[in-house]
Amino acid sequence: MHRLCQPGEHFSRRAFMKSALVAAGGAAVANWGGLVNSQAVAAELQKTGKRCIMIWLGGGASQIDTFDMKVGRPNAGPFRPIQTNLPGLEICEYMPNVAQLADKLCVIRSMSTGDPGHISGTHLMHCGRRNEGIVEYPEIGSVVAKYLGRPDSALPSFIQFATGGQSGPRAGSGFLGPKYQPFRMSTDKPPAFTTGYLKEDEEQRRRDLFQFAQGEFTADRHAESYQAYQEAKESAWRLMDVRDIFSVQKEWPKVKDLYGDTEFGKRCLLARRFVEAGVPFVEVDNAGGGWDTHELNFDGHKRLIPPMDKGWAGLLIDLEQRGLLDDTLVIWQGEFGRTPGINNRIGRDHFARAWTTVLAGGGVKRGYVHGKTDADGRTVTEGLVDTGNYFATIFHALGIDPKAHNYIGIRPIPVAPDHSKVVQELLA
C-alpha cells in the first residue's frame, strides 16, 4: 500500500487565499451545482442547526475485533468481549469508554457495501456512490456544507482532517463546485495562516487600506472577478477573526483526560469546537490509514483501539454535556471492514460484504443494534444496509432530503443514489 499525500498537509495562508478566491468565483458561475434551484431549501435547513462529525477509520477497522465479536468461533481472534451499558451488547475489551456510552449508539452490524478497494471504497463511503469517472460526485461533507452551511459564517462549512496514509484520496466537492470544497487540516496544530505575520493593528491598517483601494478601483469597474477577489479577501479576514477556534492550547489541559492525551483526542476536541461554532460538517481522521492491518491485525488493533475509544467517547460525552449531541450526528466508519478469516500473517484483509459502522446523536436511535451477521461474520443474515440506503438515512437524519436534486447542466442528481431508501429502523 502506498501513502497518499493530501493537499491539506501543505495548507498555507497563500493556499487558503487561492482556494477562497476560486470558491468565491465559483459561486458566481451560473447554475453550478444547481445552486439557484436549491438555495431556498438550503436556507431553511441552515436554521435547523444540524451538524455532523465523521470519525474516519482509514484502512478499515475490523468489525469482529470491535462491535461484532464472534466469541468461541475459530476466527474470533484473541480479543475478549466486555459488557456494555446496553443489555445484550458486548464489544471489544479495549473499548471500555465507548462501552459505557453504548446506550447512545446506533450500531449497524449489517453493512454490505461490496467494494473492498481502498481508493474506490474511500470514494464510496464518502460519496455514497462508486466513482463513475463521468460524474464527479461530491463527498458527504460537501453536500452537508451546501445544505447546512451558513453563508455568513466566518468558518468554513466543511473541515476535514485528512492525514493521508493508506486510505484513498478524498473526492472533494465534485460537481457542487469549489465553494463546498473541504477546508483541509493535517494536524491538530492551528493552520499556518492563523498565525499572522503582522501585528494586529498593522493587519487592521492593511485591511482598511485594501478596502479603500479596492473600493476606489471597483467604483466604476464591475467585473465579477473583482467582486470574487474582494469576497475571498473578506472571507479570509473573517476567518482570521475567529482563528482562536483552531487553537486548543487553552482548553486542552482541562479536557485532555476526557479525550485522551493523543493527537486523535485533540482532533476530536477541535471537531467539537468547530461544530459548536457552527461548522456543519467535520471529518476527523483516525490513524491515517493505520487500520489496514493485513499483518499483525491484533497488535495493530490493540494499539489503535484505545486512543480511538478514548477520543470518540470523550467527544460524545462533551457533545452531550454541552447539549450538542441531539443535533450532531457522529459517524464512525472506514471504507470497509476486515475479513472474518485470519490470514497467515496474523492479519485480516479487506472485507465489504458484512461489516459494521456506528452512528450516534442527532436524528438516530439510541441504544440500538441493527442487523446481524452469521456465526462467523461472513455474510449479513438480517437487516442488510447497502451504501445507498446508508447515505439516504444519514442525510435524512441531518434533515436533508435524500431525493433532493442538484444539477449538472440540466441533469438532475439526487443527493443520495437513485432508488435508495431511508432505513427507518435507524431513525430516532
Binding site: P78, R80, D261, R303, N343, N344, R345
Partner: protein, 380 residues
Amino acid sequence: MPKLDPKKIERAWFLPWNAGWTRCVTFLGGSERLAAGNQQGDILLWDLPGKMPEAAPAGAGKAKGDDEFSAPVRRPLRAFRGHTNLVSRLGASPDGKWLYSASWDHTLRIWDTQAAAEGTAEVALFDQSRGSQAKKRGMSDADVAPVQVEVVQDSQVLEGHREWIRGFSMSADGGRLLTGDDAGIVILWDMPAGKELTRLETGGGWARAVALSHDAKLAFVSESSDRHAEIAGSIKLWDLETGKVRQDLTDNKAMRAQYNRVMSFYSAAFAPDGKRLALGLSKVHLFDVESGKIVWEEEGHKEGVMHVAFSADGQYLFSTGKDTVVRVRDAKDGKQVAEIGAPRGSQFKDWLHDFALSPDEQWLATADMAGMAHVWHFAS
C-alpha cells in the same frame, strides 16, 4: 556432549497439528520430549525417540527438495488444557518435570508433565488439504486420522500479570523466569515454586521482548511502541537485585536512526557470558552490554525476527521469523554459517514463530504457524 555443528543439519520429524497456528515450542529435560503451544490456548506433548528415524517415510522422494513430508510423522501423547487464549511461550524445568506456559489470557501456568491424566481428547493432525497431500505422498487414511491424547490440567496458575504475556526468558539453571506483559508488568519468578520475587516498575509499554541473563542478575526489557502508541518505546537493562534501571539504551543513535521511538522488538537474548545481547525486530542486532554499542546487525528474516537465542557456548546466534527459516550466525561477526529449512518465497506464507534447542544441542524444533512443528537433528 558432542559439539554443535550447525552446518550439518537434517530433518528428523514432522509434527502436524491442525489447530491454528503453532506458536511456541520447548524441549522438556532432554531431547526426547517436546511441547508446543498454539493460538487456541492448547499445548501438546510429543515423545521423540532421541535418535534419527531409521528410514525416510514412504513418498519422501516425491518431493522436489526438502519439505515436511520428507520426515516421518510423530503423534502427540498428551494435551495440557487450561489456557483460554493464545499460548505465546513455553519453557521447562531442567529435569523436564515442569512445563511453564505464558498466555494471552494473562496467566502463566505450571504443568506437571508426569501428572495423571484427567481424561482424553481427540486431536486433529491434518486438515483436508494437508491430509490429501499426505496421502499423495504415501500415507494411509489411518496415518492422517485424528489421534486420542491424554488431557492434563494445570498444577498452578500464576496471575500476577494483567495483559497478554509475551516476554519470557529463563535463567540457565531454570530456577528463574522473567515474564513481561502488554501492560508493562515485568516479573521475576522463582520456579517451579511460582513465587513472585521482583516486579519492575517500567513505563507501561508492551514488554514484548525481555531477556534474563544466565545468572538471573540482569534483565533486559524492551517496552515497545509504534507510531500510534502513546508511550514511547524504550530498551533498558535492569539490575534485578536492586530492581532499578542499570543502563538505558534507548537513545542509542544507531537504533534511534532505525526505529525512532518505535522499539517494538519481538525477541531478545543474553549471551551466556552476559556481555552481549541480541535483539530481533526488522534485523538481528548484537549489542555490547557494557558500552551499549551495536557490535553488528544483519538482515535476513523479511523484516520480522520472531525469536533469537544463543548456543550454550555463545559461539552461535540462532534466529527465525517471517521468512520461515532458522538462520545460524557466528556471534562474533554476524556472518551466517547455516540456514535451516527453506524460505517459502512469499510474504504471504506462514511464519516460524519460535524455535528451541535441546539441552544437548543436538536437536532443534521449530514452531510453524502453518499448523505444525518440525524437528531437526545436528549430525555429530
